[in-house]
């Protein structure tokens, strides 16, 4: 009896110890993995230079996206299936991770030395990832397959860090002015001549306002964050398409034109009244409740993709589109854009196979498919042009899409430099203060300019 008891005790002690060891070992390798990750992944990178081993069995790639919605998932999965069928060496598997998680999970996976093989990531932060070794340098692949000419130059610009590419542009967007032609006709404006300058925009908007007593029933236009356009975009538009911090570290926040842009927005708020602006904004929704579709707003800045909302929920809205009005005549109809890139996380096991897949995904066939199915701007020039005349789009769709492609030449993307990753947390509160009337725009931007310059100086070696 006693012996049995002792044996039991011994066993349980051993079991506990082994558990302890296992648990700690697991924990340690997690931690150690973080610290010692760099050398391990360099090995992974070296593989790329060696010729790939004879494909005795298929290479399996894990591709992470955040496209899991009913509309997007089938589209991306069809593209993957097309790739899998196009050759017999590589099989790509799609992993959907929700928008809020995907990049944090990617980071954790890179740190643990077990990242996905290909991922869709943000176009504005390639430099940050490149500078902190989260993504594979594509220079050697591009040396063999020079494919950069297939992309719009403005987009290619975003993927380069210190002269070398770290990702391939995948999709992008652009914004323009949607206006309600019936509303134009109703107030005696020519429906075929949309406003071209800020001044015209304001004059037209005043005419388009519809009031019942002191209450607004329709607002012609409001510049800040109605639709898909805010104070920052107006500042770019006013300032010849110049952003806030460039790749060299020049800070251009406190410029006369940018101050003027904020002053201009404040003028709108003063005229309409803050309560009107808030009350309208509070009722904005999507689909039928979209302010432009429901007719509460006569003009709005939106992305090209907004057309699908009009197509599906606003069939009876008689709309026109026009480039974003320019600051002064001849200053340029600058628009702002964003988008996503496709890239290989650092430490991926088969960068060469990943590259093959990325090449396919940015080639004409896949990109055109993505473009017409999502009504989204794509990075491939030829695919963009083909999509604009694709028979699958209706007449209006073709019109909007070809305008969107044209608009790309005025569309600027403002990648965030790696030495000022969080400069927005200094600029935004100052802009808030100016727009809420707690500071004058020039005071606010002067302060922001100073703070961001200090940030750049502290981080840029």
């Amino acid at each position: 009896m006693k012996a049995k008891k002792r044996l039991l005790l011994l066993l349980s002690v051993m079991l506990t110890m082994s558990l302890l060891l296992a648990a700690c070992a697991g924990g340690n390798s997690g931690n150690g993995g973080n610290a010692s990750n760099a050398p391990a992944s360099t090995d992974g990178n070296k593989e790329a230079t060696d010729p790939p081993a004879e494909p005795a069995e298929k290479i399996e790639l894990d591709f992470w996206t955040f496209w899991g919605s009913e509309t997007r998932r089938p589209i991306i999965e069809k593209m993957i299936a097309d790739f899998n069928n196009s050759q017999d060496r590589i099989v790509v598997k799609h992993t959907f991770l929700p928008w809020g998680d995907v990049w944090t999970k990617n980071l954790a996976a890179i740190a643990a030395g077990n990242p996905p093989d290909v991922i869709i990531n943000d176009i504005n932060t390639v430099a940050q990832r490149a500078s902190s070794k989260q993504v594979v340098n594509l220079a050697e692949f591009l040396a063999k397959d020079s494919i950069q000419s297939r992309f719009f130059p403005e987009l290619w610009n975003t993927v380069e860090f210190e002269g070398e590419a770290y990702a391939l542009p995948f999709n992008t967007d652009t914004r323009f002015l949607y206006y309600n032609k019936d509303a134009f006709a109703e107030v005696g404006l020519n429906p075929e001549s949309p406003p071209k300058t800020w001044e015209e925009l304001e004059a037209y908007a005043v005419k388009l306002d519809k009031k019942n007593g002191s209450r607004y029933e329709r607002v012609g236009f409001y510049p800040n964050n109605w639709g898909n356009w805010g104070w920052d975009s107006w500042m770019y538009n006013a300032d010849n398409g110049t952003g806030f911090v460039d790749k060299e570290g020049n800070v251009t926040i406190n410029t006369p034109n940018k101050v003027e842009a904020l002053n201009w927005i404040n003028k709108w708020t003063a005229r309409l009244g803050e309560s009107t602006v808030n009350a309208f904004k509070a009722e904005f929704g999507s689909q039928q409740a979209d302010p432009f579709i429901s007719g509460k707003v006569a003009m709005i800045n939106q992305t090209a993709t907004f057309y699908t909302q009009l197509r599906d929920y606003g069939q009876d809205v008689n709309f026109g589109i026009a480039p974003i009005p320019e600051f002064k005549e001849g200053s340029g109809h600058y628009s702002s854009g964003g988008g996503f890139v496709i890239e290989i996380p650092y430490g991926a096991k088969n960068p060469e196979a990943s590259w093959e897949f990325m090449k396919f995904m940015t080639d004409v066939q896949a990109q055109e498919y993505w473009a017409i199915k999502n009504f989204d701007n794509v990075a491939n020039i030829e695919a963009s042009e083909k999509a604009a005349t694709n028979a699958e789009l209706d007449e209006k769709g073709k019109m909007v899409y070809s305008e969107a492609v044209k608009n790309l030449k005025d569309t600027k993307i403002f990648p965030i430099p790696e030495f000022a990753p969080d400069f927005r947390s200094l600029l935004n509160p100052q802009a808030d203060a100016a727009l809420l009337g707690q500071k004058t725009p020039s005071e606010a931007l002067e302060q922001a300019q100073k703070e961001v310059e200090a940030l750049v100086k502290a981080n840029k070696k």
């Binding site: 902190s132 989260q134 509070a282 969080d422």
Partner: protein
């Protein structure tokens, strides 16, 4: 102490055969607590020590981890205006939230303890918000607090008061969050209710015979008797208050901390540093600063507690 090893060496042959009862019991004790021990060492203590080390490095998760001494802390205290802003926001939140929720919970509990009919129903109603939590509640409150169509401003309008823009007005964002917190005092209330019901009836009877009024009875009997719970509540809600994060992350536009950074709390700033700009070394440094602040405050609380917390059966 010195004799112990010598002793055991002498008794070695005897020990081989059998562990003494105490040793065996001690060993069994360790075996039984081992799941917790393993968890603590691997999941809490290990990462904590790692983060302590990381706070002295420029760790960015993927490419570097060089020892840089106190650089992170120097930067925090001298060069990061958002650090002070976030600390200020957090202190504002704690300073108002803790007393208000404590007083609110005590008052609610005392009222529910009056033996009124339907007390069970009210108890459930008041406790309900404490059960609900997380993002759902925040989204509900964002609707309630909507400047023009929200229920709260509609109600204020009814009384002729023009309500503030709440989450859109930098002066009102933190009061909004505190108001929301007050709504869920039910958890604390339940603790007070339990302890109120443990106050001996004869004390009230004796006081009543001596002619003590309602308020006097509350001040000299009820309040002292529930001080241990008040103390517990204050300590835990202070710690919780310093950790405020989710509210700001969910209720501000794209998680950036609201108009003019008025909702950038310490933990939100830390999270942004860690996961938005990958400045993990700096973020771990911030975590340790917060840890020190909370620890000092808790120690002060514990010291002060001797002056006002009454434990039945103790000599004070």
């Amino acid at each position: 102490m010195n004799n112990a090893p010598a002793d055991s060496r002498l008794k070695k042959p005897a020990k081989r055969r059998r562990l003494t009862v105490e040793r065996r019991e001690a060993l069994q004790g360790y075996v039984f607590v081992s799941p917790w021990l393993i968890g603590f060492i691997c999941i809490t203590l290990g990462p904590m020590l790692f983060s302590l080390y990381a706070s002295f490095t420029n760790y960015n998760i993927t490419s570097r981890m060089d020892f840089i001494g106190f650089d992170n802390f120097v930067r925090m205290f001298t060069a990061d205006s958002l650090f002070w802003k976030s600390l200020g926001n957090t202190l504002y939140y704690v300073v108002f939230m803790v007393p208000l929720t404590t007083v609110g919970a005590v008052l609610l509990a005392v009222m529910l303890n009056q033996g009124i009919p339907g007390m069970r129903l009210f108890r459930t109603i008041f406790y309900l918000p404490a059960v609900l939590s997380g993002v759902g509640v925040y989204i509900l409150w964002m609707q309630l607090l909507s400047p023009s169509t929200g229920l709260i401003n509609t109600l204020l309008d009814f009384f002729g008061i023009t309500g503030p823009a709440w989450l859109f007005d930098p002066d009102w964002t933190k009061p909004s969050l505190i108001l929301m917190k007050l709504w869920s005092v039910g958890g604390g209330m339940l603790l007070y209710l339990a302890s109120l019901q443990g106050v001996p009836k004869q004390m009230y009877e004796a006081a009543e015979i001596d002619g003590a009024g309602l308020f006097r009875r509350f001040r000299t009997i009820t309040l002292p008797m529930i001080t241990p719970i008040i103390f517990f509540d204050i300590v835990t809600s202070t710690i919780g208050g310093f950790q405020v994060f989710q509210e700001a992350y969910v209720m501000s536009e794209s998680g950036e901390g609201g108009p003019m950074n008025s909702m950038v709390f310490f933990n939100l700033h830390m999270w942004n540093k860690a996961f938005k700009v990958f400045d993990m070394g700096y973020a771990t440094g911030m975590a340790w600063v917060l840890f020190m602040i909370v620890m000092v405050l808790t120690v002060i609380n514990l010291v002060l507690a001797k002056k006002w917390v009454y434990y039945e059966g103790s000599d004070r």
